[in-house]
């Protein structure tokens, strides 16, 4: 059952991007203006997003390390000590304790104590360095691991907010809208999971509507339900139907399993994780730590604890099914010592993303962290600053799977329609940033210098004419016009401009094709499962 790490995955994945010398310079000189369809053609071309529609990012930008070898080694040693001395609780889940016992761990009550190096070895012997999550549309398959980055939207918010309607409990309609917008935004590579909670649907049935919406309204990859093992099983079954009746061991979901820090996995999460591992589906085994409350306050301590938790979770995954794809997750935030409230976009959290990403690279597994976080209630300056302060470390650290990449507000309590649009715009910029510096001949543009006398502008230069359209990321949200122009356009701020944009995207939305027989079978399944159980409040 072990998934063979492919040859490609053995390299670091960060190769400098130097194209072989070619005849580009000759081409340049011969460049002729071609017919571009006149006004109509140009209008159409310019109306489309400047964000590249790529399935996922392939970074050439090398990751930034915030620790040296000695620093990483110390944290790894501390994590092993924690695993051995303190141990990790696998609560109310006897089958996990059995697996651990057979693997040679020391079980005391429900706390598992791991001999040093045990978890690391289980993971390195079995877990893939990267894997492909298949999407309904194979062009949207994402590779997760090594030098790739995948952006997925916000997760888990009970409330939704937009400028017109303010903040309210989210509904299934909001859920569908967010899935549709995510589908329409090329900057998001993945449809996400519980993009918001459809609070209007009974608790025990929500997952059916959520998974169906991802399949129906998008063709990007998605996440399954984790709030109960049977809901995870339903997610697997619906995916089987959606992918033509047989998954053939393909991984088509990546789901979120949170540790109940400090040093504890709870039965709900373990139950869901077990279902997914058995079906060869991927999970993110993710410590989510509000430092101060759920770990000591320092970054080095948080890192050791998160590493210990992630190691125990990922190793458990490999015990359930060797080779099942698993992601090392870390969501590090801190608790305001003054009030108890969770905080976001802080410098310490940025440091934690870097350190944890480095630890994951050393272990050799895909890594999830970061996003665009804020505690702000509205898409204002605080929201933008805090989000940017998380996104840059996320990209610089080389995170592979970025949940909450767009839409997050209010510490995750709310998803913002405008925030989703504004964040996606930033993600588009990151696509360019992460691509790294173009060192090809065209990138060096020596011909441009040779054909342009000193002191003369470059606007009419052949190199400029050849490259200008795609040279710079063109933001759909930023306003760079004169004051007067901005005034004439209605004095809109960024959030108001985003408001116009999400409405247009929704109005223009067209669903991806879905085979009608598959759709029917899915609807049957959803209908049947709903009728099998009475509405329940938990």
């Amino acid at each position: 059952m072990t998934t063979e790490p492919s040859a490609e995955t053995e390299s670091s994945g960060y190769e400098p991007r130097v194209s072989p010398p070619n005849s580009e310079s000759v081409e340049l000189k011969q460049l002729r203006r071609r017919r571009g369809g006149g006004r109509k053609g140009r209008q159409e071309a310019r109306a489309t997003s400047s964000a590249k529609s790529v399935a996922f990012l392939e970074r050439t930008l090398p990751p930034v390390d915030m620790l040296d070898e000695a620093g990483y080694a110390q944290i790894e040693a501390n994590a092993e000590t924690i695993l051995e001395e303190v141990g990790v609780a696998f609560q109310d889940f006897p089958s996990a304790l059995e697996l651990w016992k057979d693997a040679g761990a020391d079980i005391r009550g429900d706390v598992v104590h791991f001999p040093k190096g045990m978890c690391r070895k289980i993971i390195q012997d079995n877990a893939p360095r990267s894997y492909v999550q298949h999407a309904r549309n194979s062009e949207r398959n994402v590779t997760i691991g090594n030098n790739t980055t995948v952006f997925a939207p916000n997760y888990g918010s009970p409330f939704a907010m937009d400028l017109d309607n303010g903040r309210r409990y989210a509904t299934l309609e909001d859920f569908r809208n967010i899935v549709k917008l995510t589908y329409s935004l090329p900057q998001l590579h993945h449809s996400g999971g519980t993009v918001c909670e459809p609070v209007d649907i009974p608790v025990n049935k929500r997952h059916l509507d959520m998974v169906y919406s991802h399949i129906k309204y998008s063709d990007k990859g998605y996440m399954g339900s984790v709030t109960a093992p049977e809901r995870a099983a339903d997610s697997v079954e619906m995916s089987r139907i959606a992918f033509g009746g047989d998954l053939q061991d393909r991984t088509v979901m990546t789901s979120l399993i949170n540790a109940s820090s400090p040093l504890r996995w709870d039965a709900t999460m373990l139950g869901a994780a077990t279902v997914y591992a058995e079906a060869n589906q991927a999970s993110i085994m993710s410590p989510f730590i509000l430092a101060g409350a759920m770990s000591p306050v320092t970054v080095a301590a948080l890192a050791a604890q998160a590493l210990a938790e992630a190691l125990s979770g990922m190793a458990y995954y490999q015990l359930v099914r060797p080779g099942a794809p698993v992601i090392f997750g870390t969501f590090a935030s801190s608790m305001s010592m003054a009030t108890g409230a969770p905080t976001f976009g802080t410098p310490e959290a940025g440091q934690a993303i870097h350190v944890m990403a480095g630890l994951a690279r050393r272990l050799g597994v895909p890594f999830r962290s970061g996003g665009q976080f804020t505690a702000s209630k509205v898409p204002d300056a605080q929201a933008a600053y805090e989000s940017a302060s998380t996104l840059l470390p996320t990209v610089n650290a080389g995170v592979n799977f970025v949940l909450h990449a767009a839409g997050w507000l209010e510490g995750g309590l709310s998803i913002g329609y405008e925030k989703l649009i504004m964040d996606a715009d930033q993600l588009g910029m990151m696509e360019v940033y992460a691509r790294g510096i173009d060192m090809s001949e065209n990138g060096q543009a020596m011909d441009a210098f040779r054909t342009n006398p000193a002191g003369e502008h470059f606007l009419g230069n052949a190199h400029t004419l050849k490259n200008f359209e795609s040279a710079f990321y063109r933001s759909e949200i930023a306003d760079n016009n004169s004051f007067e122009q901005w005034e004439e356009d209605g004095r809109l701020d960024a959030a108001q401009r985003a408001n116009v944009r999400w409405k247009k995207l929704l109005a223009d939305y067209e669903p991806p094709p879905l085979d009608s027989a598959i759709d029917e079978e899915l609807l049957d399944f959803v209908g049947r499962r709903k009728s099998e159980m009475p509405d329940a409040a938990y």
Partner: protein, 241 residues
């Protein structure tokens, strides 16, 4: 300047032992309020016993020293001067004093501040907020029985039966577990014991309307509000009785 450093620290933190028994009542009261503020549980226990030995009634020690001291702690927490770990220490000190006073208060038949049973509901393991609430309530002098996380209705019922609290506190952080609060409240109603308790609910995804809709007595947006709401509603109820 560097020469001053040593003397400065000595002046800043006057660490010398204070003999509480040598203080007169006014000074002892002032010192205990400082000790509560600084979270010194042993000193609070010692001071409480001293006052009792000087003939102060337990209700007087409680009202004039401990509750008053914690009121100030509460104000400075609200104003961002005291931080959460400090308030935790203060609350623990209050608890140490209460442990001495509570049996005496019961003997004299004085009305206790109140008893609280609190827990995070079934299916939910979020407990940071609930722990802060329990801390603030202890700080306000309540006796708190914390049922922990993932609490089902039978566990609540059992605890209500056993501790006969004034207040039942329910915490939930998930929209998937919030509805269970209603299950608990409905069960109380079914058994005809709903009105025996003040039911307070809280958790970030709740709001005022939700609290009303499920039949709670109040929704509390944070721990400080929870403690003051508890005091307020108990006072109201006792007046009405």
């Amino acid at each position: 300047m560097p020469d001053d450093v040593n003397t400065e620290t000595e002046e800043d933190f006057d660490d010398e032992e204070i003999d509480l028994s040598a203080l007169n009542d006014d000074d002892l009261r002032a010192q205990m309020m400082d000790d509560l503020y600084d979270g010194l549980a042993d000193e609070i226990a010692e001071g409480t016993n001293l006052f009792l030995s000087r003939g102060w009634g337990p209700d007087k020690v409680l009202g004039e020293v401990l509750v008053e001291g914690m009121r100030i702690v509460g104000i400075d927490f609200r104003d961002g001067i005291l931080f959460v770990p400090e308030v935790l220490l203060s609350a623990n000190s209050m608890k140490a004093g209460m442990a001495i006073l509570r049996p005496l208060l019961a003997e004299t038949g004085a009305e206790p501040i109140g008893t609280v049973v609190i827990g995070t509901v079934k299916g939910d393991i979020h407990d940071i907020g609930k722990n802060l609430v329990a801390m603030m309530m202890e700080g306000a002098g309540f006796e708190v029985f914390d049922l922990g996380i993932n609490t089902d209705v039978d566990e609540y019922l059992e605890a209500l039966e056993k501790h006969k609290p004034d207040i039942l506190g329910l915490s939930a952080l998930l929209t998937t577990t919030m509805p269970y609060m209603k299950v608990v409240i409905d069960t109380l109603s079914e058994r005809g014991i709903r009105d025996d308790y003040i039911v307070l609910v809280g958790g970030a995804p709740l709001n005022e309307e939700f609290g009303e809709a499920i039949g709670a007595d109040a929704y509390c947006r944070d721990a400080a509000i929870a403690a003051s709401m508890a005091t307020e509603l108990i006072t109201e109820r006792r007046k009405a009785a």
